[in-house]
């Protein structure tokens, strides 16, 4: 009897211990976020203190106002959103069209072409980066929205992801539509796309996140301040206000917030995208 009780106490305390460990670790992982957010509300006099102080005296939004006047963050935001929405919408269209061709149409060399598509995912971006820049330069598109948008308008990953989903959709519905005289494009738009919403949502979220967070491409193709995206603007902001952490953290919060909000509401799609890309082997 005494032994049983002992085991029970041991089991419960082990469970408690496990919770303490993992929650402590979670706190450690999110502490940079908390630190960023709290710093962004602090006065400069509260930032340069040692030992560091977690909570600000009062939450003031001055830093945000200062950051938005010190650099045209509003404009950066506008640029980032235009580019991210355009690329996301574009990829949803081009990828679902290409995926439809690979999943449903029969033509010679289809499988080889599909493997070549998959193979392009293995090419490191720095190999294609230099000639892509040249192509845009020859087109006269450097420092325009075209340079930020057009190269992202197709995606092997997106095509693959949608194709994997499309092939699981039963064909019966399409057959009926074809008999009623529907064209292939109508079948894609009216039947496949409505059924593939979860896959499209996953692709949309992944693309949006990737484009909104992109830095190197904007760094290469943008020269003028009015074409800068949030990430590029923030990096340049860093060079200008090296240690003004109140402004820099306010800027960081603005650069992180939209993605965190999207993530909060659509977490399952993020997880799904990661596991899908992980299972492509």
């Amino acid at each position: 009897m005494g032994g049983d009780r002992y085991i029970k106490v041991w089991k419960v305390s082990k469970k408690v211990f496990l919770h303490i460990i993992i929650y402590a670790f979670a706190l450690l992982v999110i502490s940079p976020f908390l630190w960023m957010i709290l710093t962004s509300f602090k006065d400069m006099s509260e930032i340069y203190v040692y030992p560091p102080k977690w909570l600000p005296e009062r939450f003031n939004f001055d830093n945000y106002v200062k950051a938005f006047t010190a650099a045209p963050f509003g404009r950066y935001y506008f640029n980032s959103l235009v580019v991210a929405f355009a690329v996301t919408l574009g990829q949803l269209i081009t990828c679902s069209m290409a995926a439809f061709a690979f999943a449903r149409l029969r033509f010679k060399g289809r499988d080889i072409l599909f493997y070549i598509f998959l193979g392009t995912m293995m090419i490191p971006y720095n190999v294609t980066m230099i000639p892509s820049f040249m192509v845009l330069y020859w087109l006269g598109w450097i420092d325009t929205y075209y340079a930020l948008i057009v190269p992202g308008l197709a995606s092997a990953f997106g095509t693959f992801l949608l194709r994997q989903f499309f092939i699981t959709i039963p064909r019966e519905l399409e057959e009926a539509a074809y008999i009623d005289g529907a064209s292939r494009f109508q079948v894609l738009r009216r039947i496949i796309i409505p059924l593939a919403k979860p896959a499209l949502a996953t692709l949309a979220i992944f693309t949006f996140m990737g484009v909104f967070n992109d830095f190197i491409w904007a760094l290469i193709v943008v020269n003028s301040e009015q074409m800068q995206t949030v990430q590029l603007g923030l990096a340049i902001f860093r060079d200008r206000y090296l240690t003004e952490w109140d402004l820099l953290m306010a800027g960081s919060v603005t650069a992180v917030l939209p993605i965190l909000i999207v993530f909060f509401f659509a977490q399952k799609y993020f997880i799904k995208g990661i596991t899908l890309s992980g299972l492509k082997e």
């Binding site: 496990l18 460990i21 993992i22 929650y23 979670a26 992982v29 940079p32 960023m36 340069y48 203190v49 560091p52 069209m97 290409a98 439809f100 061709a101 149409l105 029969r106 010679k108 392009t120 090419i123 490191p124 971006y125 720095n126 190999v127 294609t128 980066m129 230099i130 000639p131 892509s132 820049f133 040249m134 192509v135 330069y137 057009v150 308008l153 197709a154 092997a156 092939i167 699981t168 039963p170 057959e175 074809y178 008999i179 292939r184 996140m209 909104f212 967070n213 190197i216 990430q231 953290m249 650069a255 992180v256 965190l260 993530f263 977490q267 993020f270 990661i274 596991t275 992980g278 082997e281």
Partner: protein
Amino acid sequence: MILTDSSKKKSPKRKTGSFRKGDLGSAFLFLSPTLVIFSAFILFPVFFSFYLSFQKWNMFSGDATFVGLDNYARMFQSAEFWQVLKNTAIYSIGTIPINMALSLWVAYLLNKKLAGKKFLRTAFFAPVIISPVAAALIWRWMYDPNFGLVNFCVEMLGFNPVNWLNEPTAAMFALIIMSVWKTFGINMVLFSAGLQGIPDSYYEAAELDGAGKFAKFWHITIPMLAPTTFFIMIMSMISSFQVFDLVYVLTSGGPLGSTKVLVFYVYEYAFKFFEMGYASAISYFLFALLFLLTMFQIKFMKSKVYGAA
């Protein structure tokens, strides 16, 4: 199964109609937007940068001149190149094992019965989704030598404060820690999926045989996760050899070039000095290196992981 069944039931009208001729025309239409973009920004660049790697050209003035293997020779003779390659290797070798051990540990714990799992998963995954620029900026502040949180913790633990971003060894260490924080969530999700794929019956059978916790982990979990682990290793290697944003914002390659990595080196030569030929040669070297390392790992793992089964 569904697919083969339904294809048999194809209506006779379509069999005799468009299908027999093949769908080449419409396939071309459906694929054309993607093909246009890919030709301009992937296919042409892959071949053209290979061509460029044998040229000397700044792209703005004059024509490219053929220089044979000069770019590659210059690369292998450059002390800076070897330094950069070494930095990249140190970064990868430092990041990948810590990252994998940590993500496996967290995934393992999350696979148990826990309260508030959803919150925990969100917390661990949050660093993955934020922009590398903002992440590196937060960590620059955390690493501040005088007022940063990291040195505060270091001193609480009884050590001397470190000038994180201004000392070569410390800067690389700082970069690795930040990078693990930023990316372990991806591998955690992948390991979680792998762990959920292991049938409970395996563990139950082992328990009947009297296997302890450690034995179960060692003899069931680890071997069953081998394909996932293998996949994560390859993907981690590919991405860590291409790190750029985090380095650019955290250290800009410094101090004294101690954190300058390959892509940063390519970026400098291509878009600061406009030596497109030399930059292309470096990027092709990186391409070849990653290809060989991946092939080597696949070969090695095939004999280890799948050969044993």
